[in-house]
């Protein structure tokens, strides 16, 4: 129990870019703990000899030829933008990151 505490959820919320209040973090921690507890058995079922399946129907080498197709107009591209300027999407300041 309590593997997922408030600090852990706060870190996950930061990774997932969702702002959460202290109460939300506590509530989420409680709910996730129950859920994770109930699905934990999954990690004990399959041994090393069982391969992982990431696609239900296995396909390989699905390619596109290198031929240009239809593009959006600048107007279409920006049609849903919350804010735009000079044909580009406008976003608030990005403080010192990469």
């Amino acid at each position: 129990m309590s593997e997922i505490n408030r600090e852990a959820v706060a870190h996950l919320a930061q990774l997932a870019r969702i702002e959460m209040t202290a109460e939300e973090l506590d509530k989420m921690a409680g709910e996730l703990d129950v859920i994770v507890d109930s699905i934990k058995t999954v990690s004990e079922v399959a041994g090393d000899d069982v391969p992982a399946t990431s696609h239900p129907i296995p396909l390989t080498n699905v390619f596109r030829e290198d031929v240009p197709g239809q593009t959006l107009t600048n107007e279409q591209a920006l049609s849903g933008a919350p804010d735009a300027e000079d044909g580009r999407f406008k976003v608030p300041a990005i403080l010192d990151e990469e």
Binding site: I18, G80, P82
Partner: protein
Amino acid sequence: MNELITHSAAELAAKLAAKEVSAVEVVQAHLDRIAEVDGEVNAFLHVNTEEALAVATEVDTARAAGGAEAGRLHGLAGVPIAIKDLIVTIGQPTTAGSAMLRGWMSPYDATVIQKIRAAKMPMLGKTNLDEFAMGSSTEHSAYGPTRNPWDLDRIPGGSGGGSAAAVAAYEAPLALGTDTGGSIRQPAAVTGSVGVKPTYGGVSRYGAIAMASSLDQIGPVSRTVLDSALLHEVIGGHDPADSTSLTDPVGALAEAARTGNVAGMRIGVVRELQGEGYDAGVQQRFDESLELLRGAGAEIVEVSCPNFKYALGAYYLIMPSEASSNLAKFDGVRYGLRVLPEDAPLTIERVMGASRAAGFGDEVKRRIILGTYALSAGYYDAYYGSAQKVRTLVQRDFDAAFAQADVLISPTAPTTAFKLGEKLDDPLAMYLNDVATIPANLAGVPGISVPGGLAGGLPVGIQFLAPAREDARLYRAGAALEKLLEDKWGGPLLAQAPVLGGVK
């Protein structure tokens, strides 16, 4: 209530072809029905009146012109359809049931929408769903819950409750749904309608807003098995825009539905998908269906899929993991809700955090956080990696079962429709609704839910599962059971549903 709306899509198509009725009349009858009952049902988030009538007019004009132009019309031309609001459409808002996309207009059409347009099927509008298809009750919609036409205090299933309710309430003869863990089949079961999850890759996912890419599949929703087959033939087939799309031909699905014969068919009862956890009433209807099928010449065998008991757990790791990634794009930069935090500093990081906090509902946040957890450093192998291995085991169970049986059978959902709000605060109880539908998504195999009768006055669904690429078997078995039951009932199950919108 206009008599026209009670007809199946196949019947409407026949009447249109025979010019007994015009497409405009058909569309108008459904628009009238929506106006009449959707205030109660809330199946539609958007009604596409003008465009639907315009397409109907085109069909009528072409048909009136006769000759080659009329000959080019698709068999379902003029038969209206409702679209789950997870599928993007030009000209109508696409919201995914989320405040994040309130009023968002897509600049492109999903591949299935292009096919619907090519067939000249008038789109009646967009139907309600759990936000980003996350839920089993359509209560997690930012636009209010959809109600079950059988009992307006109950849930219509989810996430595709809007499409199922629209069809069950005669607001549309056909609808499109999406099924990630049962979101087409479980709503069909609890509303007394038909829903099909095709083989993974059988219908293009291009333009369906992704929840869990390796599980999602678009499929038909209808009142009859034949109608689903007809719609499946419209939307199915290879799409170069979807790398997971199969190149197989769609197959003669409608023909299989018309044949509807189970004589000599081996039907496998999945031991793990019945008994404990399944309502007595659900189990009773299921057992009766087995008897009918046996009587019609099917060979009923019992099969065991021992790893199905881990399917729910694996699903609730894979689905939120993929969803956490797929929903990262909703950040208030290119489209959708942008919320500025009230206090400084106004960094993009904080704007994204505030936008996602305001744009997503509780269930979506829960799954994103769960998925982020399952993928994070140090947990990946134990959670996501292990779940993908369980997926292999579930597939092996299916392989073994299909060595003994042509199709498998189970109840679609363990219970009938529960009351609105009943499970809203208990995510685990909500998740259990999908216990019988999830294995098919994990393995990519197709499944259908057909009405199996009533328990406590509420519909029960019977699910058939077939091997990958053998969707036709679902239609053959499903149509056979449908006929056996309707013969017994003296008509379709929905004829027993209470009248909506007062007596008119």
